[in-house]
Amino acid sequence: MNALVKARGLHKAYGDNVALDRVDFQIEEGQIVGLIGPNGAGKTTALKAILGLTDFDGELEVLGKNPKRNRATIMQDVCFIADVAVLPRWLKVKDAIDFVADTHPKFDRAKCEEFLSRTKIKRNSKVGALSKGMVVQLHLALVMAIDAKLLVLDEPTLGLDILYRKEFYASLLSDYFDESRTILVTTHQVEEIEKILTRLMFIRDGNIILDESMDQVGEDFTEVLVKPENADRAKSMNPIHERDVFGKKLFLFEGVSRDALRELGELHTPSVADLFVAKMKGDRE
């Protein structure tokens, strides 16, 4: 596998506050990686380091280059959508298209026009006159028309209503993603992306506490709906998390084989959200 991003000992502190604590990770081609963590965990810092927007210590290679020194070159193959507010309000839709067309060698204007024609966005509107959802649609149309290797999304659907959020990921999957592309996404709304992720990374307090393929997650983590009489036995098997559901106990196990768990009760693959809660809370206690 071809690693697009390689981080070794990536470190960043703001004063005494350590945002990234010497982390190692790789992002490989063809993956959709979810970088999930609470606020202030270091997600955005990691993305900014990858995008050449911040200084850092340690080693970081993006497409074989150091983003600290080669932001402009790297951006020929890396696209980025931050939260919704970053397209300037004074920019007209048609001018935005012209600008990207004149400055980005891998932009396909026809494709962008095609994506926009499916929306209600008018070419003469200014960004400031569009709804939040439309601004994201516009940004997505601009970015999807770029033949990039890595797409970085930082809370791309923040503040959008449910229709736009669903549509955002749907068009990303159907019109953009293929095996030659790679997407790195951070979001709070994990339930929206868990179906599309191929790899999951949890980050907490500047450390990566989980970094696995989704298939591996399914093997490593099991949720068991345990009958009350089996609860003590379940507890003795070191669950990483437990909670009550309709009078039954729901236990989450890491690295325990499903055969061993089967007799305790009903087995499930945990949702990313439940896994997230367990990992964030569990290790803290």
Partner: protein, 317 residues
């Protein structure tokens, strides 16, 4: 898509025009207001308070040389309010140039494109040195042609020959060339002050105007307190207002009337001594011989490098 340094730079310069509409709106509105005032004065006040025939008689009595000089001042004269206006628009533009994109966070969009920080900063300078002057010059040119046409028509109504009294002496190209040179010399002269504003714009997290003005003010006060001198305020003053006290500017010859053809680029005497027909590119060459220009240019280069570095390395949290 074919892109290169040139298409990128043109796109960046267009971006400046989209973002800073004042670049074309201020000159257009100003030209419209001036033209209306002009129409009112020559189309209403002149005929009713002076009388067209008297006005034309006076013109015909004037000595042809004075008449020629007066007609040749149409373009430079028209340009004066525009040059003053530029002295307000450009500083505010520069203070905004690297600050606004951080305030509205659009920098995250601009930086997501394969454009270097140096190209971006360069586009700000090209806007100051090319785009905005071109718009102002075009506006001055059109306005002055319109005014001269109106003046000719007034003269015809007063019974004179528009051609002899007005149009034959017009000197449009000389005038435009002179104004363009004047503009260029002024911009080059103010380069260090402008680049300081750009640096403040790149530096400020808030209130770039205060970042631009308070440090020099503090320096003036500290110098006064500890060294009991006022060299810095004199330096600043001579840069800001390069006319007046002859002695303090004797190195910048071009700026106070010792230049070729006794041109005065700056100062109140511009339309008495200013013989725009003798203007040539040598006035720019003369500026390049002054040490003031070169110290200013070095300072400007340092400020610009600082602005590029700030845009590049500053963490946009």
């Amino acid at each position: 898509m074919n892109t290169n340094i040139f298409t990128t730079q043109v796109a960046l310069m267009k971006r400046e025009l989209w973002e800073h509409k004042g670049f074309w709106m201020v000159p257009f509105v100003m030209a419209a207001v001036l033209f209306v005032l002009y129409l009112y004065s020559v189309g209403y006040i002149l005929p009713t308070k002076v009388g067209l025939d008297i006005f034309v008689d006076r013109l015909m009595d004037s000595n042809p040389e004075a008449l020629r000089k007066m007609s040749q001042m149409f373009v430079p004269g028209t340009s004066v309010p525009f040059l003053i206006m530029m002295g307000f628009v450009i500083p505010f533009y520069l203070l905004d140039s690297l600050y606004a994109e951080r305030r509205d966070r659009s920098i995250l969009f601009w930086k997501s494109l394969p454009i270097t920080d140096a190209s971006t900063v360069m586009s700000k300078w090209l806007s100051v040195f090319i785009t905005f002057p071109a718009i102002v010059l075009a506006t001055v040119g059109v306005l002055s042609i319109a005014m001269t046409l109106v003046m000719g028509i007034i003269v015809i109504f007063g019974g004179g020959s528009a051609w002899t009294l007005v149009w034959s002496n017009y000197g449009f190209f000389n005038g435009m060339f002179g104004v363009a040179l004047l503009l260029l010399v002024q911009l080059l002269w103010y380069l260090p002050l402008m680049s300081w504003l750009m640096l403040a714009s790149a530096w400020a997290k808030k209130a770039p105007f205060l970042w631009a003005t308070l440090p020099p003010a503090a320096l003036i006060i500290l110098e006064e307190m500890f060294l009991d001198s006022n060299e810095f305020v004199r330096l600043l003053g001579s840069r800001l207002i390069p006319f007046g006290d002859e002695d303090s500017f004797n190195n910048a010859a071009i700026l106070h009337g010792d230049g070729p053809g006794n041109t005065r680029l700056f100062g109140e005497n511009v339309h008495i001594e200013g013989s725009f027909d003798t203007f040539s590119l040598s006035v720019v060459g003369d500026l390049f011989t002054t040490p003031e220009f070169w110290t200013g240019a070095i300072f400007a280069a340092a400020c610009t490098a600082g602005a590029i570095a700030l845009r590049r390395y500053r963490d946009e949290s």
